[in-house]
C-alpha cells in the first residue's frame, strides 16, 4: 500500500559493559569506585541469598521459591537508581530489589517459608508485598503514581514484571493509564526469555518488548539486562524523568533466567542445556568482576571477603528467620478487615 507515513518509532538499545568487562566510556554513568564495589557486593549478596534459598527449599526448610539467578544486574542495577521514598511494586522474582533497598533478609526467608509477616514491609520502605498473580501489580503502580502526582510528591514508582507479564490485560491497561496521565512510573520488564515453559518468541510476536511502549505514546528502551551499568543508567534517567513530571518510561531488561522457573519446575523439560550454557558467558557478576579487575578494584582477597561477608549475612538471616515463632492460628482472622466480623468471632472460638 503506497501511502503516507504519519508516524515513525525508533526502538533503542543500551549496552555499556560487555562480557569481557569492557565499557563504552561515552555511555558510562558517573560512579565512584565505592559505588561500583557496592554494586558488586550487592550482586554477590543477592546470589548468595538465592543459592541458600534454593538449598533451604531442597532441604524442606522453605516452600516453593523463584530463583533470581542470572537476573541480578537487572534487579540491583534498577533498584540502585531508586530512593527509599520511591514506591516499588514487585512481582515474585525480585529478591535482588528487596535486598538492594535494604529489606531485612530474614523476612524474605520468612515469607518464602509461608509466613505473611515476611512481607509486612518495614516503615521507611514502600515495597508492596510479592505479587503472585502475574501482571496484576501494574495497575497499583499506576494508581500509586497518580496519588503521588496528586499529592505533589516528587517520587517515582517502579513496577517490575516479566516478559510473560506483558501479555496480561492488566499490563496493557496500566501502561495506557500511565501514558494518558503522564504518570511518574518506571515500568521495568525483566525479559528473561521464558515464562515457565513458554519462550519469549511464543509469548509475543513483537521484535522487541520495548516497542510495546509505542502503543501507549511513551518511550520504551531495551537494555542489556546483564549489564548493571546500562540498567542503572537507563533506570536513573527514567526515574529522574518521572520526578521531573515528564511521565512514564518502559525499560526492557534483556536477561536470562538461569534457574528453573521455581523450585516446583524442571526447565530441562522444555529448554536445552546449550541455550543455558550460552548465557553463562553473559553472567552479570562475572563481567563486572572482569571490569573491576581491569580497573584495579578486584583481587582474590577482596573476593574472599565479599563472599564471606555475604555468607555470614545470609546465614544470620536464616537463623533469625528460623527462630521466629510459628504464627498463631488466630492470626489468619486478624487482618481480614480492620475489625473482626461477628461471624469471625464465632469462628475463632475453634482456636
Amino acid at each position: 500500500m503506497p501511502v503516507r507515513v504519519i508516524e515513525t518509532i525508533d526502538i533503542k538499545r543500551l549496552d555499556i559493559l560487555d562480557e569481557k568487562g569492557n565499557v563504552d566510556e561515552s555511555l558510562m554513568p558517573a560512579l565512584s569506585d565505592i559505588e561500583i564495589k557496592g554494586m558488586y557486593e550487592l550482586l554477590t549478596l543477592s546470589r548468595t541469598f538465592d543459592h541458600h534459598a534454593l538449598s533451604l527449599q531442597r532441604e524442606g526448610r522453605m516452600g516453593t521459591y523463584a530463583s533470581i539467578f542470572g537476573q541480578e544486574a537487572s534487579q540491583i542495577g534498577s533498584a540502585l537508581a531508586l530512593e527509599k521514598s520511591d514506591w516499588i511494586f514487585p512481582s515474585f522474582r525480585e529478591m535482588g530489589v528487596y535486598i538492594t533497598m535494604g529489606y531485612p533478609l530474614h523476612m524474605l526467608f520468612q515469607y518464602w517459608g509461608g509466613d505473611e509477616r515476611g512481607v509486612k514491609c518495614p516503615e521507611g520502605l514502600n515495597i508492596f508485598p510479592v505479587c503472585v498473580p502475574v501482571g496484576t501489580q501494574t495497575p497499583h503502580a499506576a494508581g500509586a503514581a497518580m496519588a503521588a502526582k496528586y499529592k505533589g510528591d516528587k517520587i517515582a514508582v517502579a513496577c517490575y514484571f516479566g516478559d510473560g507479564g506483558t501479555s496480561e490485560g492488566d499490563f496493557h491497561e496500566s501502561m495506557n493509564m500511565a501514558g494518558v496521565f503522564k504518570l511518574p512510573v518506571v515500568f521495568i520488564c525483566q525479559n528473561n526469555q521464558w515464562a515457565i515453559s513458554v519462550p519469549r518468541e511464543r509469548q509475543t510476536a513483537s521484535k522487541t518488548i520495548a516497542q510495546k511502549a509505542a502503543a501507549y505514546g511513551f518511550e520504551g528502551v531495551q537494555v542489556d539486562g546483564n549489564d548493571i551499568f546500562a540498567v542503572y543508567k537507563a533506570t536513573k534517567e527514567a526515574v529522574d524523568k518521572a520526578r521531573r513530571g515528564d511521565g512514564p518510561t518502559f525499560i526492557e531488561c534483556f536477561t536470562y533466567r538461569m534457574s528453573d522457573h521455581t523450585t516446583a519446575d524442571d526447565a530441562a523439560r522444555y529448554r536445552t542445556k546449550e541455550e543455558v550454557d550460552a548465557w553463562k558467558a553473559k553472567d552479570p557478576i562475572l563481567r563486572l568482576r572482569l571490569f573491576m579487575e581491569k580497573n584495579g578494584l578486584w583481587s582474590e582477597q577482596y573476593q574472599k571477603e565479599v563472599e564471606e561477608k555475604a555468607k555470614t549475612v545470609v546465614d544470620e538471616a536464616i537463623r533469625t528467620a528460623e527462630a521466629i515463632e510459628h504464627p498463631e492460628p488466630k492470626d489468619m482472622f486478624t487482618y481480614t478487615y480492620e475489625k473482626l466480623t461477628p461471624r469471625q468471632i464465632k469462628e475463632m472460638r475453634d482456636f
Partner: protein
C-alpha cells in the same frame, strides 16, 4: 429538609465527603465531564477539578486496580463501574488484591476503596446493564458489600463506606435512582455498616430484602403482620437483627432480584437453618429472579420478582 432522589443523595454524600477530606477522589468512565451516565457525579468535576474527579480510559481492571494503588498511597478513592455488568473484568483486582491487601501485608497496607456500581434490572436497558450478582462479592472475605434502598440510607451508607478502612462494593439500584424522593439532611450522618434496619415491625413473618426488592416487598406485605428487614449491608451481614426477628415470627421469606441458585438469599437461609431452626414454623422461602440468563427488555418484567410472586411466597409460609 430537601427532598432528594437517590442520585441526588449519593451526589450529596460524594460532594460532602470530598469537601471534608482532600484524600477522597473519584475515578471511572465518564464520571467527570459527563457527570456519570446517571449523573451521579454531576458537578463534582467543576467543584473539585480533574485531579480529583478522574475520567479514566475505558478499562475496568485498571480502574479498580489503580484505585487500589491510590489507596495504598493514602488516598480514599471511589471507583465507579459504569454498570454492574461491567464489573467482571475488575473482579480479579477486587478479589486478588483489594480483598487481600491488609492480610497480605499484615496491616502495613490497607485498601479503603469504594467501588460504586449501578445494579439491577427494571429500566429496560441493553444486555449486561441489569446484573444483580451481589452474592459473588459476599463470598470474598476482605470485601464488604452494601446495597442501599432509599435516598436517605444511600447517603448515610455511602459516607460510612467512604470512611470504612476496608474495600466496599456499593451497589445502587438503577430502578431506584429516580423512583423515590425523601428527606435527606445536609451534612454528616453515617449509617453504620453491618447493621440491618427493621423497616416495619410485625409478628407473623420476617421478610428480608435489600435494594430495589425492598420496595416490592413492602408493597407485597400489605394485609400481613410482617416484619420487614432491609439488610443494607450484605457482607458482613447483621445476623443479630435477623435472629431476633426470626425468634419472634418463626417464618422467613427472603426476596432478591438475583437468580436463586447461589444468590445471597441462600446464605441468609442457611444461617437461619443452622442457628435458629428450632424457632421455625415454616419452610424458609426465597422469592428471587429465575435461574436464567437475564433476558433483554421484552422479558425483563417477567424475570424480576413481582409483588404477586412475593405475596404468594408469604401466603405459602403462612400455611404453616
Amino acid at each position: 429538609m430537601p427532598k432528594l432522589n437517590m442520585v441526588q443523595a449519593i451526589n450529596l454524600a460524594l460532594r460532602e465527603e470530598m469537601q471534608r477530606d482532600k484524600n477522597v477522589v473519584i475515578l471511572g468512565e465518564d464520571v467527570g465531564r459527563d457527570g456519570g451516565v446517571f449523573r451521579v457525579t454531576e458537578g463534582l468535576l467543576e467543584e473539585f477539578g480533574a485531579e480529583r474527579v478522574i475520567d479514566t480510559p475505558l478499562a475496568e481492571s485498571v480502574i479498580a486496580g489503580s484505585a487500589i494503588g491510590m489507596a495504598l498511597y493514602g488516598l480514599k478513592p471511589i471507583a465507579e463501574i459504569q454498570f454492574m455488568g461491567f464489573i467482571y473484568p475488575a473482579i480479579d483486582q477486587i478479589f486478588s488484591h483489594a480483598a487481600r491487601v491488609r492480610s497480605r501485608s499484615r496491616g502495613r497496607f490497607t485498601c479503603p476503596i469504594v467501588v460504586r456500581a449501578p445494579y439491577g434490572a427494571g429500566i429496560k436497558a441493553p444486555e449486561l446493564h441489569s446484573e444483580s450478582t451481589e452474592a459473588l462479592f459476599c463470598h470474598m472475605p476482605g470485601v464488604k458489600v452494601v446495597v442501599p434502598s432509599s435516598p436517605y440510607n444511600a447517603k448515610g451508607l455511602l459516607i460510612s463506606s467512604i470512611r470504612d478502612p476496608d474495600p466496599v462494593i456499593f451497589l445502587e439500584s438503577t430502578r431506584l435512582y429516580r423512583l423515590i424522593k425523601e428527606e435527606v439532611p445536609e451534612g454528616e450522618y453515617a449509617i453504620p455498616l453491618g447493621k440491618a434496619r427493621v423497616v416495619q415491625e410485625g409478628k407473623d413473618i420476617t421478610v428480608i430484602s435489600w435494594g430495589s426488592m425492598l420496595h416490592r416487598s413492602l408493597q407485597a406485605v400489605g394485609g400481613f403482620d410482617a416484619e420487614v428487614i432491609d439488610l443494607m449491608t450484605l457482607n458482613p451481614f447483621d445476623e443479630e437483627t435477623i435472629f431476633k426477628s426470626v425468634k419472634k415470627t418463626g417464618r422467613v421469606m427472603i426476596v432478591h432480584e438475583a437468580s436463586k441458585t447461589g444468590g445471597f438469599g441462600a446464605e441468609i437461609s442457611a444461617t437461619i437453618a443452622e442457628d435458629e431452626i428450632l424457632y421455625l414454623k415454616a419452610p424458609i422461602i426465597r422469592v428471587t429472579g429465575y435461574d436464567v440468563v437475564m433476558p433483554l427488555p421484552k422479558l425483563e418484567d417477567y424475570y424480576i420478582p413481582t409483588v404477586e410472586r412475593i405475596r404468594k411466597g408469604i401466603e405459602e409460609a403462612m400455611k404453616y
